[in-house]
Structures are given as C-alpha cells and as structure tokens.
Symmetry: C2
Subunit: 127 residues, 2 copies
C-alpha cells in the first residue's frame, strides 16, 4: 500500500468530517464553524456551507447558509475565511432553515446580495 503524500494545495476532506471546520473573519477572528454543506448532486459542486456563527451575537438564526463562493479555504488556518459581516447576515434575504436552497428565487437573491457567482451558472467544459 502506497504511503499517502500530502500536497500543500491538496485539501480533500470527507463529507463526514466537514462538521466543525472553523470560519474566520477578515481580521482573522474566529466567528463560527461549518455545520454541514449543501451539495449540487448534478454538478458535484458545493453550493452552500451552512455556518453556525457563534462569534456573532444577536442573530435571528443559529445557522446561516452562506454561498460557497463567499468562503475561501486557507490551508494555513485549516479553516475558511469570509468577508461576511454580522450586519450582512442580519440584512440577508429571509430564508427557511430546511429548504431555502430548493427555491431558485431565494438562491438568486442571496447570491446577488452577497455578490457571489451562482454555483449553477457553470462556465466550464469540465462536465
């Protein structure tokens, strides 16, 4: 059996281990952690990370679906960085905890709100 070689730019993780990956703000402060991911089964792209923002007080929900493209994985932190602020979360389009991500209208408004590229607009020949 070959010994595994970890590549610096190689950051695969099991979907079972996603729970608890840390999320940091622009200033490097810890603001929450990933609860789970929402995955588009057709394209195999992660659409949202559902993040528990324990570091922000007074939010209306305990978990927020954040467009994947609003997070950047940082190997040196072993976690994600995001520019999203507490105020942005408070003003974000209303959502249902269970199924907002099955409502394309909500998805469109949310991606526009966070100025992120929609995961369903696939500009690639990769598939």
């Amino acid at each position: 059996m070959a010994r595994a070689t970890a590549h610096p730019d190689h950051s695969c993780i099991s979907s079972e281990d996603v729970h608890g990956v840390e999320v940091y703000g622009v200033d490097g402060s810890h603001i929450g952690e990933v609860d789970h991911l929402i995955i588009d089964k057709i394209s195999g792209r992660v659409a949202y990370a559902v993040v528990s923002f324990g570091g922000f007080m007074g939010l209306g929900h305990s978990h927020y679906p954040v467009p994947w493209n609003a997070l950047r994985y940082d190997n040196s932190l072993a976690g994600f960085r995001t520019d999203i602020t507490e105020q942005q979360l408070k003003d974000a389009p209303e959502f249902s905890d269970d199924n907002a991500w099955q409502d394309r209208d909500w998805e469109t408004r949310t991606h526009q709100y966070y100025r992120t590229h929609p995961y369903w607009d696939v500009r690639t020949g990769g598939l």
Copy 2:
C-alpha cells in the same frame, strides 16, 4: 417565508443526507450506495464518492472511492448511474481506505484507469 419551489434540474442535498443515495449500473440494476463524499475544500468540488458495492460479490474492499465524474445523477431514479463494472473495481489501482485521496499519484492513476477527467484540472474561470 417563501414556499420552496423544487426545480427539476435542481438537486441540492445536505452533506448529512448523502449517506445511502443509491447507485445503479448501466442496465439499471441496483449495485450499491454512497457511503460518503470526498470534497476538495479549495475548489468546492466533489472529488470522489465512496461507494459501498453491496450488489457486487467477491470484492476485496467493502467501500471503493469512485471518481465523481464516473457517476451521473439521474433525477428520475433519485440516484446515480455508473458504467463501472465489478471487474473494473477488482483491477483498479490499489488503495488505502483512509487516505488514498491524499496521494496525488494514486489519484492520477485512478482517474486514468477510469478514464475520468481529474477534478483538480479546473478549466474554468468560475473561481
């Protein structure tokens, strides 16, 4: 709260619900199910589905990491289809259950073997 609208081409699933999604062979027979996914945290792409092939007998492992691009999601089946055969699994590059997907050499050989496009060769401006 808006009512969710399910789109026919819209197949998001929670990473917590991935366990147990069915896998069917070319002839439509049930050959296994997804145990979990391996996700590239940098790109947000699913790299592998780790599949339990209960429908195939005499395999050396209970779970096999299958390149994502060797699976096609079929909404009408609510599951994946794959062309992979029992013989292909038996002859596939040796792997370690825990960390084969951290070994880029194994990954390259495996994608070549299944003739699938490597997930790390991103030919897109999406990010």
